[in-house]
Amino acid sequence: MTAVADNREDYDDLYRLHHPRVLRLCRLLLSDPDEAEEVSQDVFVKLLKEHRIDTRGIQWGPWLTRVAVNACRDRRRSGWWKWWRERHQEFAEADLPGRELTPEDEVLNQEKRRRIWLSFRGLSARQQEVFVLRHVEGWSTDEVAETLGLSTGSIKRHLFRAVQQMRRTLGGPT
């Protein structure tokens, strides 16, 4: 009984610690925020099941990230038409975050924000995954390669193309 309670406590801690990050990851990889919420819940249901079975030596942070990336990929595959259509949708400037940001962020041009998001949505699914894991999650190239099942050279190429494409929207090098 005590062990079960400990497990439950661990699970709650893990949820509190990782849920915002996993949700943000899902919202980056999926266009629809509702869908992202669903997928993140699925990820934590999987965590609950796995947590009951075996907790020895598992790094739950990377495990959650890996499961979330795979779940987002599965979701995109199942709804490819919706995902493709939404890649090309415009963003409403009025809905862009910025009203509660720092003065520095306020200065940031709204048009630039819109273009960055559009450019990110225009990346291939693989490029998005690589960029998010490498830059937003801060993983190393080797870790990203292992998680996505690609070579480090392939990860570097995907990352470079993604960065080039996004920098072009900011007027960077072509």
Partner: protein
């Protein structure tokens, strides 16, 4: 290292990777350092924007260009039409044109076979056989007869034979 670093190397250096020689070049080359700094600024900006909550989508009437939105649908429809046309062509009965072409081919084949296997006319055959008899007689030396042989009546058989042939 004297040449300036390419963009992908600058990206690797920004990500904490790259060789010592590349790092040394970056420290010594002002142009590369400036490019590296610009790359860092851009990436920080991108990371900051992406770290915020993604903005909401616009309504359907402000979506991307119409052509882009309907491209997959148009491609799928074109594929279905092509498939149906292909299947119907495979399974449909032969058209009038095909029948006419088949008929003309049969007529041509009949003409060719008639020309190849035609038997000569009977008079022609008879003439050919009589000429052959004469030729054979000449070759064997039995004919034409000399004057003396004719007078003695030694060649009568041959004449009778020729006359009978004719």
């Amino acid at each position: 290292m004297s040449r300036c670093l390419p963009e992908d190397t600058l990206l690797m250096l920004y990500s904490g990777e790259g060789s010592d020689a590349e790092r040394a070049h970056l420290r010594s080359c002002q142009a590369c350092e400036a490019r590296h700094a610009r790359l860092g600024d851009d990436l920080q900006l991108i990371d900051r924007v992406l770290s915020e909550a993604p903005p909401q989508r616009t309504s359907a009437h402000r979506l991307a260009p119409r052509g882009l939105r309907w491209m997959p649908v148009a491609a799928a429809l074109a594929g279905i039409v092509a498939f149906v046309m292909g299947v119907s062509r495979l399974w449909s009965p032969p058209s009038v044109q095909v029948a006419a072409a088949t008929a003309s081919v049969s007529v041509f084949a009949e003409d060719v076979s008639a020309a190849l296997f035609a038997t000569p006319e009977p008079p022609m055959l008879e003439m050919a056989s009589s000429n052959m008899a004469h030729l054979q007689a000449a070759l064997t030396g039995g004919w034409p007869c000399t004057g003396a042989q004719l007078l003695n009546g030694e060649c009568n058989d041959q004449y009778d034979e020729v006359l009978e042939d004719d």
